[in-house]
């Protein structure tokens, strides 16, 4: 029984520092191994062009996964993010093509429209599942259909296009070969990391995921924190819609089908526990990279897209099994 050996000023002292760091290190190692593997066995993997490619490809998933991390941390799930993204994109597409606005105003309007749409959908998910204490799985499954239907209705099932040129430029802009949209996603990761680790709000989200009742009995309104988590997830779906529009220069009502599953996969591979309370957004970043690197590398290696899907599936299952043992080990 050693007593009071304290790291004096490190903020880490009050977080799950060591465990999370080890966990992230493990996932990071897995990612490095993958990168190493593909660098050795393919010619083009470690080329600047391909790296830019990968960064572009994982951006939307990463944005969605950041919001998903908040929801999964409180023990929830959001199946609606793919549809909400499409709905937000369609609403923003309508806004950006409104006549009578200059490019700057139109883009600003689109950004506001997309984020508000996402926030509204997320908030509805949160309010309903938290107020009636219903499983978010079902509520967001409902929202998945509602948002998809709404996207088709608003767009009359037509793809919206001809956006301002500046918008298109933003979508394909690079800084030293790094896509600007990826930097946006990275910024989101940093903000989320800060919120989860350095604010009362983040602390209580972890608390709720671990033991909701203890948090409630300590005088906190669990309800609002849950609503907030879902709202954040909706917000990131709105941001993902912007990225999507800027990248492809269209708003399609059938965009984002199945994206929720990739986002959930990134979070889980990143070591966040599906039952909540354990995990980190840095893990999610690594998880999104693993999925992206796998997808890219396996195709470069010459495997079919079908094989790639199968292998990604295997990775998800392996990640969850590993997580099971990690949780068991941790509780000992």
């Amino acid at each position: 029984m050693t007593t009071q050996v304290l790291s004096e000023t490190m903020p880490n002292a009050t977080r799950f520092s060591v465990r999370t760091a080890l966990q992230n290190a493990g996932i990071g190692l897995a990612l490095l191994a993958l990168i190493l593997f593909f660098s050795v066995f393919t010619e083009h993997f470690l080329t600047p062009n391909n790296i830019t490619n990968i960064l572009t490809q994982i951006t939307i998933n990463l944005v969605l996964a950041v919001g998903m991390t908040f929801v999964i941390l409180i023990g929830g799930i959001d199946l609606s993010v793919g549809s909400v993204m499409a709905f937000a994109a369609v609403v923003a597409g309508k806004a950006i093509t409104l006549p009578g606005f200059g490019p700057a105003e139109a883009i600003a309007l689109a950004v506001v429209a997309a984020t508000l749409t996402g926030v509204a959908c997320g908030m509805i998910n949160g309010v309903i599942s938290a107020y009636w204490a219903l499983p978010s799985f079902i509520i967001t499954l409902g929202m998945l259909n509602i948002a998809r239907g709404a996207a088709l209705q608003v767009s009359e099932a037509q793809t919206i296009y001809s956006f301002p040129y500046a918008f298109e430029e933003f979508g394909s802009a690079m800084i030293y070969g790094v896509p600007v949209v990826f930097l946006v996603a990275l910024l989101l990761v940093l903000v989320a990391w800060f919120v989860l680790n350095f604010t009362v709000f983040g602390r209580l989200l972890y608390g709720i995921g671990n033991n909701e009742e203890a948090v409630r009995l300590a005088g906190h309104s669990v309800y609002w924190y849950k609503v907030a988590a879902f709202t954040i997830c909706g917000f990131t779906a709105g941001i993902a819609a912007i990225v999507y529009m800027a990248r492809l220069n269209i708003s399609s009502p059938i965009a984002g089908i199945g994206f929720e599953l990739n986002a959930i996969a990134a979070v889980i591979i990143g070591g966040t526990s599906l039952s909540g309370g354990r995990g980190s957004v840095i893990g999610t970043l690594l998880g999104a990279f693993i999925i992206g690197v796998l997808a890219n590398g396996l195709i470069l290696i010459g495997l079919s897209d079908f094989m790639r899907q199968m292998i990604t599936g295997v990775v998800i299952i392996v990640a969850v099994v590993l997580d099971h043992y990690r949780a068991k080990y941790a509780s000992k």
Binding site: T9, T14, F16, V200, A214, R216, A330
Partner: protein, 522 residues
């Protein structure tokens, strides 16, 4: 312990034991749940098992019904070794249990529930609904529920009727031993009498009945013999005709009637009324008569009573966790209403809950995070965590309670039970509460830490904090409290002042032995 094993030699004057338990032991981790239990059941008798909470009755029942295996000792049933691998085997061998908590499937019909273990089928292997309903009808008639429709869902029944359905289900299979765990806890007097009639008729068929009850008058009304348990040991078996309720209570308490220091703490002087409870009725309280008492600053009031007496519910009601059905709470003369724990905390109240794993702590989170959970404002500025302040407070709180830990970033789950409990205390002490509610404050805590926690609580009272302590451990209440309220069936049965403190007095009130005398003691 030697005395215990002597007391249970099979009575040679009677017919040979039908079920005989010898030196039964059962450990859960380091906790001895049963530490040498021996007794026997005779064919066709009604045998009572009594003892305080945690004396080992429930564990014994679970072993007999095949839920847990036993570590050592022996059980024989009708001359053969009895070691059921699972509840199904136990049932096959004719040992049936009607559990205290209901095992009914709410959304299925009464008939389906009654037949759930063995559904009748037609020749085609399909469910024979007619036969099922017919059987259920017979079963319900047998327990006197002639006016209940067997096709109604169980969820439409009141609690007492559910209990009877449960009993009728147990009677479906041919049982040789029927164990009734607190069967009357939810029954009214009329239904209890009906149950006793049923027990008589089953007994007449040669079935042995084990009757677990907290109500000694019931035990004396229908049982032939009674075995007393204390701390996982069987103390002895008596014929009902040869003992008295007082004699049974004395056995439950044991000889260790520790000479408790019955003088009050001179440094403690109860001050103003902190909380006045006026006819508080909790949701769990079936009656309209509520609980009223005053809690003063600088005093420790203990609440004693058996499990199910409504103790925890009162604390939860005060703290605003569960809404009150009726009654008022007054603070400084004005009525207060708490919509939830947040309001109660704002009013200076803290609540150390009974179950630290489910309600008190976030086990996987660091010590520091747990300590600041109820006091986030003190360790944050505009929503940002101030880690140095949190660390300082955690170290301070830890030192105040002599907490033994490695690093404050360690998960609470790495601490011993006693130290975990100290973290729960520290969480509330960090807010300097004016009123502290404590539910079983030393459950699962080792002796050393217990003494430390007592010292902390006494210090708090000296500093003018009002403490309300619920505990099943009578020595604990007698050590801490200035006065003890004894609760039974959601009513205060009596109030004991320090000179009157004794386990016997508490138990008498808790078991309703002196209720007739108007709650007077001694």
């Amino acid at each position: 312990m030697a005395a215990a094993s002597l007391a249970i030699m099979p009575q040679t004057t009677e017919s040979p034991a039908f079920l005989s338990v010898q030196g039964l032991k059962k450990h859960f981790g380091g906790v001895k749940a049963l530490d040498g239990v021996s007794f026997s059941l005779l064919k066709g008798e009604v045998h009572a098992l009594v003892g305080e909470n945690g004396a080992g009755k429930s564990t014994l029942i679970k072993i007999l019904s095949g839920v847990f295996p036993y570590d050592s000792g022996s059980i024989s049933l009708a001359g053969e070794e009895y070691r059921p691998a699972n509840p199904h085997v136990a049932k096959e061998l004719g040992v049936q249990v009607v559990h205290q908590e209901f095992n009914l499937l709410d959304h299925l019909s009464i008939a389906e529930n009654i037949s759930v273990e063995r559904m009748p089928t037609t020749r085609l292997g399909l469910l024979d609904r007619q036969e099922m309903n017919r059987r259920a009808r017979l079963a319900l008639d047998a327990v006197g529920l002639t006016d209940v429709d067997v096709k109604a869902p169980v969820s439409s029944l009141g609690i007492a009727h559910r209990q009877l359905v449960e009993i009728s289900r147990a009677l479906q299979s041919k049982s040789r031993i029927l164990i009734l765990d607190e069967p009357t806890a939810t029954l009214t007097e009329r239904e209890t009498r009906r149950l006793f009639d049923i027990i008589e008729s089953i007994r007449a068929d040669g079935v042995t009945i084990v009757f677990v009850s907290h109500h000694l008058e019931e035990v004396f009304a229908i049982c032939d013999r009674v075995t007393v348990f204390r701390n996982g040991i069987s103390i002895g078996t008596d014929r009902i005709s040869e003992t008295t309720p007082d004699g049974v209570v004395r056995k439950m308490v044991g000889r260790q009637l520790a000479a408790t220091a019955n003088e009050a703490d001179p440094k403690r002087t109860p001050g103003e009324v902190a909380l006045r409870l006026d006819a508080i009725c909790t949701q769990a309280n079936p009656k309209d008569k509520g609980v009223s008492f005053d809690l003063r600053y600088g005093e420790i009031v203990g609440i004693a009573g058996l499990v199910g007496a409504g103790r925890t519910e009162i604390l939860r009601g005060i703290f605003g966790v569960d809404p009150l059905r009726s009654g008022r709470i007054l603070q400084a003369g004005t009525e207060i209403r708490f919509a939830g724990p947040r309001d109660a905390i704002a009013a200076g109240i803290g609540f150390v809950t009974e179950d630290r794993k489910d309600e008190g702590l976030i086990l996987d989170m660091p010590i520091a995070a747990n300590m600041s959970l109820a006091n986030m404002r003190a360790i944050s500025r505009t929503g940002l965590l101030q880690f140095s302040e949190e660390n300082r407070r955690t170290r301070e709180g830890g030192a105040r309670l002599k907490l033994k830990y490695g690093k404050i970033s360690d998960a609470v789950s790495s601490l011993s039970g006693g130290n975990q409990q100290k973290v729960v205390l520290a969480k509330w002490l960090g807010r300097n509460p004016k009123v502290l509610l404590l539910d079983e404050p030393t459950r699962g805590v080792d002796v050393g830490a217990k003494a430390e926690i007592y010292a902390i609580l006494k210090d708090l009272a000296r500093d003018g904090v009002a403490l309300l302590v619920v505990s099943s451990e009578m020595p604990e209440l007698m050590t801490l409290a200035d006065r003890i309220l004894v609760l039974a069936e959601h009513e205060i049965q009596g109030e004991l002042t320090r000179p009157e403190f004794s386990e016997e007095n508490i138990l008498k009130l808790a078991y309703g032995q002196v209720r007739q005398a108007g709650g007077q003691t001694q």
